[in-house]
């Protein structure tokens, strides 16, 4: 068990390094722009630009710059925002928490909707199965930002009194906070719920045909006991795995949803930074997001191994 966890973490390290290299290189792609951007809109003479370059260490070899940057990042210093001149990390953390909340709600909704519909489709078959699969197909075709925009449009047209855009921080007003998160989380959750639904359906069908389910029925156990302890518990492991792996998709989508619903999260922060060419922030967000995704993937792997005693000994 520990060995499995360690191997997975060890596997993660070179990839994390690769991720950091990509994040670093991304913003070094056009050094001229970088310095220009750092200087902002002020027109500067070439000598001044050179001085800035030297102060930023841009005259040193790339690999030195990278190691320097990496060392600082590991110490928690993500640099200073070009726009506000404040440390990137200070501005990023609260926004990260907001996105975390949104992503959590979206993931939960997706799990409930998806697992529920998948289970229904697998157990009830026939028309229910057909209905679920058709709805899934349609939902898959509607991108989350399109859905969100249409929702805002509908709200504006038919429910003008309902405030869509009043995001309130959690600690100010917990209920209001959750209320304001509902529609954004739903928009984010729909596409992901389709994947979960399909996987749940497949998993339940697969487990249903296993011998031990028939043995359970032959023991005279009540159908709901069989469903709960034999079917769902076995089908759950692949489903949870899939849900965890959807995190990347949720994070990506949060950029769009936060922008549409004006939620001050990491995604919106990224968008603003892109518009203002605020490179240190872009770099930090890309790095943080990829790291989170990797970590979650590894955790999901380990959790899967724990729940499924079979896998552990493979």
């Amino acid at each position: 068990m520990i060995r499995l966890a360690l191997t997975r973490v060890a596997w993660m390290v070179p990839i994390l390094l690769g991720v950091s290299v990509v994040a670093f290189l991304l913003m070094r792609a056009l050094p001229g722009d970088f310095v220009q951007a750092s200087a902002g809109t002020t027109e500067l003479a070439p000598e001044a630009l050179d001085t800035i370059r030297r102060s930023l260490g841009l005259d040193r070899p790339v690999w030195e710059q990278y190691l320097d940057w990496l060392a600082r990042v590991l110490a928690g210093d993500f640099g200073t925002s070009f726009v506000t001149q404040r440390p990137v990390l200070d501005e990023l953390l609260p926004r990260l928490l907001v996105t975390a909340e949104l992503t959590f709600f979206a993931g939960l909704m997706a799990l409930l909707l998806g697992a529920g519909s998948g289970l229904a489709a697998a157990r009830l078959r026939g028309r229910v199965d057909w209905l679920v699969r058709t709805v899934n197909g349609i939902l898959l075709a509607v991108p989350n930002f399109v859905f969100a925009t249409l929702v805002v449009l509908l709200a504006g047209l038919y429910f003008p009194e309902v405030g869509i855009f009043n995001y309130t921080p959690f600690f100010t007003d917990p209920l209001g906070n959750i209320g304001s998160m509902l529609l954004p989380a739903l928009s984010l959750a729909l596409a992901v719920s389709v994947t979960i639904s399909e996987n749940t359906r497949a998993a339940v069908l697969e487990v249903s045909s296993q011998d031990f389910v028939m043995v359970a029925r032959a023991k005279g156990l009540l159908p709901r006991t069989v469903l709960r302890n034999y079917l769902v518990r076995n089908a759950l492991t692949p489903v949870i795995t899939v849900t965890g792996l959807q995190l990347a998709s949720l994070l990506g989508g949060s950029i769009l949803i936060e922008t549409i619903f004006t939620i001050p999260g990491m995604g919106q922060h990224l968008f603003e930074s892109v518009t203002t060419r605020n490179y240190p922030v872009i770099q930090a967000i890309v790095l943080v997001a990829a790291t989170i995704v990797l970590l979650v993937n590894v955790l999901v792997d380990i959790a899967y191994a724990r729940v499924d005693a079979r896998v552990r000994y493979d």
């Binding site: 031990f212 028939m214 032959a218 005279g220 156990l221 009540l222 518990r233 499924d308 005693a309 000994y313």
Partner: protein
Amino acid sequence: MTVHNPAPLLRVQGLTARFGRGAQPVVKGISFQIGAGEAVGFVGESGCGKSVTARALMRLAPEGSSVELGGSVLFQGEELLQLGENAICDIRGRRIAMVFQDPMASLNPVMTVGAQIDDIVRRHTGVGKLAARQRSISLLDQVGIRDAAQRANDYPHQFSGGMRQRVLIAMAVSCAPDLLIADEPTTALDVTVQAQILRLLMRLRHELGMALMLITHDFGVIAGMVERVYVMLDGEIVESGGVDAVFAAPQHSYTRALLDAVPRLHAPGERP
């Protein structure tokens, strides 16, 4: 040696089974009976319908498909084919129990072995957790699992095939059923283990006074285990009788073929 009782434990008449309306019947109107405490064998090759028959008695259909049953299955005077779902659930595991063929796939991988015996005990006797666990441990002990108390907390993958089959047998006899159906209980096991499992079944049967319906494709397994035997071919019963009689003088050509197929370690004419 038992004879046909006036009111046998199980009387099946004209049982038919088909998968889906209008499909060809897999079981074509067979009739047989099993007396209380009697051991009866069902022999035939794969596809002859013996497993379907066994499952039909418990009204178990493979997941996702529906089986249409016809005829009459009288068990302790009750017509099983007419019972509602709840009633049949009460009978399963309690008065009729089954041991299946493949022990490697028959246990829930995410539940401990003890928990899987607990749940059938609690379902049919309603005792509390502790009492059920004690019963499970004693059952594991009865079927020959050493360190039963500790092993009850282990998962199926920590047991060998033979041990898993013992666990499944423990589950099946846990509520002292009146009829135990064993569907190819040794087919998936190593040869040395097969004999152990068969001996276990015999011992339990005598201890608990259960009737035994032993299904197999191998005549060698039947010998010494049952009193009467039915031979099935292609959904029908082609021969039946006392096991000694059938061994000595098989009437049907198919029976003869089956008997010839058993590898003999003794001179012809001698029974193992």
